[in-house]
Amino acid sequence: MQEPKHFGAVDPERVRRTLRPQPMHRKVIVRVVSKALIPYILLFGLYVQFHGDFGPGGGFQAGAIFAAGLVLYGLIYGIRPLRQAVPGRVLERLFAGGVLLYGGTGLASFLRGGNFLDYGVLLYDPIHARHEGLLLIELGVGLTVACVLTSIFYAFASWSPED
């Protein structure tokens, strides 16, 4: 009868296998920790986006955080699943849409008789209108920054020097 290995015995083959360089998704600590963290990174990005009027942060920071979550996912699980979740074409339309949302908010206040980007005229109550205008343009900034950073990551990830 084979003697059972005592607890803590070191199997050299196993050590060698663990130390071998592996792709990111094979590294169990990185995979498990990032899987637990990525939803909260994205959620925190949204919090920073929509809470920028009451706390530190705003569209730019929110976009960077959101993009960091997406890019982290892409680095660990591979670019293909990320592209399936967030296709590059959608990103391109969204970052243009963010600029248009900002400019459009400015134009809307222009058309309602105010100055360009003077949100006070958008609604009946000027204070309320300025607040809503701020949230709208911050949303435009956030969309643009998040989508631009992720698209740049796509461009780098799919670039190969052979072409």
Binding site: G57, Q61, L75, I127, H131, L134, F153, F156
Partner: protein, 180 residues
């Protein structure tokens, strides 16, 4: 004061270490730590929005992008002879910056010109016109709305440039039409 000086000392040590580092992965991690420590420094100086940006951009997205770039290049920087000219340029620039600091108003001085010009108007205006507590958001989004719009357009233009240079734009092959 002691906390600030400690952070500055750490920043100095990390900067020198990064410059001497040959392992690019370690250098990337150290630069993330550099950003995080600067964010802590900005927080101590009560500039939470700047700290937040530094943490999100410096320690967050740029580290992740650098890691993505590192996956495609060798891990180690090539060894090269120490060069005199770049070192001289860096030292001269640093000396010029130190010389320039002498003219700046002392830290937190309420009489400094930057606190006298438009800032009181913005601080009073945010409470009356917006009724939101974050003055920085009100300044960036509304009082300086044109500037922020310009920045967003700059980000957009940068992305268009990068995508034009790098993205795979070959037309997709369509499924051949069946010939009748």
């Amino acid at each position: 004061m002691i906390a600030e000086l400690t952070l500055f000392a750490f920043l100095l040590v990390i900067a020198v270490t990064i410059a001497r580092m040959r392992n690019l992965f370690t250098a990337a991690m150290l630069s993330a730590i550099f950003s995080l420590l600067s964010a802590g420094l900005f927080t101590l100086m009560d500039a939470v929005d700047v700290a937040f940006t530094e943490a999100a951009v410096g320690a967050g997205i740029s580290t992740v992008l650098i890691l993505g770039a590192l996956a495609r290049i060798p891990r180690h920087e090539l060894k090269q002879r120490p060069q005199v000219m770049p070192f001289l340029v860096v030292v001269l620039t640093g000396a010029a910056l130190l010389y320039g600091i002498v003219d700046m108003p002392s830290y937190g001085d309420p009489e400094a010109p930057i606190h006298q010009h438009l800032a009181p108007e913005y601080i009073a205006g945010t409470a009356n016109d917006f009724e939101i507590p974050n003055i920085v958001t009100a300044i960036l989004g509304s009082y300086r709305g044109y500037d922020t719009f310009g920045e967003v357009v700059v980000v957009f233009t940068a992305a268009v440039g990068v995508l034009l240079l790098l993205a795979d734009r070959r037309p997709r092959r369509r499924a051949p039409k069946s010939e009748l």
